[in-house]
């Protein structure tokens, strides 16, 4: 642990027009090296057109035990989905 390089989370945009997606992590001394290493570790087969790196300890995450309170409120609001509403066939596509 004494002199370990920090851990970086790696995000890659797979194709133009897509969002960056988390693909994994790696150790590197700084952001520049993290990007270089990410190129070698995660894009050896054309997997990406853009790389983001974020030092892992800068990421804040929701806690798994908050799952209920965080997501339960959205479960009861079925009217947020378009299928909640019946539209007469005669009206056509909507």
């Amino acid at each position: 642990m004494k002199n370990e390089w920090p851990l970086w989370e790696i995000f890659i945009r797979g194709q133009h027009g897509m969002s960056h997606r988390h693909v994994g992590s790696l150790h590197a001394p700084d952001a520049e090296m993290a990007i270089k290493n990410a190129r070698d570790v995660y894009t050896r087969r054309n997997e990406g057109v853009s790389i983001w790196v974020v030092e892992a300890n800068h990421i804040s995450a929701s806690s798994p035990s908050d799952k209920g309170p965080l997501y339960e409120p959205s479960e009861s609001k079925v009217y947020r989905h378009p299928t909640f509403f019946d539209i007469p066939e005669e009206v056509g596509a909507m």
Binding site: M1, E4, P29, D30, V41
Partner: protein, 325 residues
């Protein structure tokens, strides 16, 4: 396999939590690093993923041995790409292990001082070019057998690492088969080399799946937790059934007098490897154990100044930036 004889750790947790945990696994849910998990699950996984990662890294050594002596520039480039993939596999897996609360340095040091193992197969030498073909064909072939079902393992980061790895493994096995096929179809002398490689690597490849089920006492808990998906003998049988026709196509003979198709079982009957040799290799007495560990230790020690230097440079740069702001 790449992880052999992983002993499941005993678990002394709240029975209610344990039952809820098991129910999640039975329902096919993935366990993520921040979720509650039994201590035994966590410890067993660190050992298993760690051993798997170490195998990917140490496994580069027998193949790296032939990069500079590959017979053509194309074979050299292919082997280089294959070995680079294995480094990547090691890294994906180390990161998966680290999510369980072990640091990269800790886990590396456990390999270097012998507290953690790597697959027995990498303690056998690669004596000539035919061995490189045989390693891709048989060793990566055996690894695939085990890694494909592990894509469905219960621990999320392990499963995701396996999915990435499996995407890359098929190239490994095919380039190996292609290389040994070239030799099997070459001059009589080349064919002899191919046969000799198969003779030497057949039983060590069968050993990769670990001891026979009747001697494999730690499987039940791991299978319940879905960190082991099949028994050792199941996978070994599958490997034999798949590989024998591939050898026949090459005109090579599997070095097993008792090998024959069993109509009734729908499988090949085959001879088990010499388990005393397997345990001996695991104990550190294989032909290359000492060399492999010495090589890894040397790489770690020789690289220390690079790791320290780059970190010092990064800190200095950050401090300068901070001062300028």
């Amino acid at each position: 396999m790449y992880a052999q004889m992983i002993k499941s750790e005993a678990t002394q947790d709240d029975p209610e939590k344990l039952a809820a945990f098991q129910a999640r696994i039975d329902a096919g849910e993935k366990i993520e690093p921040k979720d509650w998990m039994p201590e035994g699950y966590r410890k067993t996984l660190i050992r298993q993923i760690g051993q798997h990662a170490h195998s990917e890294i140490v496994g580069q050594l027998p193949e790296g041995n032939w990069i500079t002596r590959a017979p053509t520039l194309e074979r050299k480039a292919i082997l280089l790409a294959k070995v680079q993939d294995e480094a990547g596999h090691g890294l994906y897996l180390y990161c998966a292990a680290e999510t369980l609360g072990v640091s990269r340095d800790e886990i590396t040091e456990m390999l270097l001082d012998g507290r953690m193992k790597y697959s027995s197969i990498f303690n056998y030498p690669t004596l000539n070019w035919a061995d490189i073909g045989a390693v891709g064909w048989l060793v990566d072939g055996a690894a695939i057998m085990n890694q494909v079902p592990l894509q469905r393992t219960s621990f999320g980061p392990y499963s995701r690492a396996m999915i990435r790895i499996c995407k890359e493994e098929s190239f490994h096995q095919r380039q190996g088969y292609d290389a040994i096929r070239k030799m099997a179809e070459g001059t009589p002398e080349q064919k002899k080399m191919a046969q000799d490689a198969l003779n030497r690597l057949w039983y060590p490849s069968l050993m990769m799946f670990g001891p026979s089920d009747k001697d494999s006492v730690h499987s039940a808990q791991s299978m319940k937790w879905k960190i082991k998906m099949n028994t050792n003998d199941e996978l070994r049988q599958k490997f034999v059934d798949q590989t024998v026709p591939q050898a026949e196509y090459l005109g090579l003979t599997v070095p097993d007098e008792n090998l024959k198709w069993n109509e009734e079982r729908g499988h090949y009957d085959y001879t088990d490897p010499d388990w005393s040799e397997f345990f001996d290799v695991i104990q550190g007495n294989g032909p290359c154990n000492v060399d492999r560990l010495a090589d890894r230790n040397k790489a770690w020690d020789d690289g220390a100044w690079v790791r320290d230097g780059l970190l010092a440079h990064a800190k200095k740069k950050a401090a300068r930036q901070h001062a300028a702001e």
